[in-house]
Point group: C2
Chain length 147, copies 2
DNA sequence: AGTTATAATTTACAACTGTAAACGATGGTT
DNA sequence: AACCATCGTTTACAGTTGTAAATTATAACT
């Protein structure tokens, strides 16, 4: 079976990021960091921890009186899934421009850029001359104009 | 002022796509298309139309007994905003890989690819050798390891 | 003018989210 | 043994989302 990616909400991402970055943590550590970074009350962090455990994105490991929270889903896999999911709702025709906008505004290392260049180069030969719009169901690909 | 982008939910995107693609439409046309594409009941489409009007993403123009629903926000601008928003929750360090995954799995025209190549090439000179993780608040950039 | 089809608006309702307080259990302290 | 600081769990509560039925308004038809 594939990596079981879980639906993670915006705020829950913030919790996951810390754990992905630092490894398994106690709730008190998490809470401290997230109060600092997000301004959350301790109770808020606790709520998200509970929900993430219920969703299966985190697993608690008893350690003395507290728990260490371990991520069960991979960061890269989760990111890939979230991004793919979002793009699936967007018009295919506009994806090129959207990626262009994104790449323009995001921070990339020289290495990243080289990798992307290569991926693009590899993709070029099989690329179509034009991408068609996939916003309409098959039946409706003809003109419909009103107004 | 900038283009006023609106928060559009997953399902609402599907409504907007049709209007962005075909231009202003009557609710009956929309409902037919979305029943076809998404399997929605007419009432469901109506609900989303109402919400999108309330959110200001659509504006109804009376036309006889019905309304034509016009998009007030641009498709590209909305896509750019949605994608940027998502990426803002992701670890900077992993964005390169995420883009790579995305580019690998998405359909791009030769033209798109060329544009992206150019954007990347232009970005290369000023690109850092390494991107640092931005998942922790400033204070916490040192080691924290437990477990 | 009365009836009917249909368009728009209201209401419904459960699940998910953001945000957090309240409560109960438990290990550490006096 | 009694108390206190915490940790985890429950409860709270409003707003959003997905999904749709019910109701109301209204144009068109008879």
């Amino acid at each position: 079976m594939e990596t079981p990616t879980v639906d993670i909400s915006q705020s829950e991402w913030e919790v996951m990021r810390i754990i992905w970055t630092l490894g398994p943590l106690k709730s008190s550590t998490l809470a401290a960091i997230l109060t600092d970074k997000m301004g959350w009350k301790v109770a808020t962090t606790k709520t998200f921890l509970g929900r993430l455990v219920k969703k299966g994105a985190l697993v608690p490991e008893k350690q003395g009186r507290e728990f260490l929270y371990h991520a069960t889903v991979g960061e890269q896999a989760s990111m890939d899934a979230a991004v793919t999911e979002l793009f699936s709702h967007l018009c295919q025709m506009k994806i090129g421009k959207t990626l262009d906008h994104l790449i323009t505004h995001v921070t990339l290392s020289k290495h990243d850029i080289n990798d992307l260049q290569q991926t693009l180069t590899a993709k070029l030969p099989d690329a179509p001359a034009k991408v068609s719009c996939n916003c309409l169901p098959e039946r409706c690909k003809e003109e419909v104009h009103e107004g």
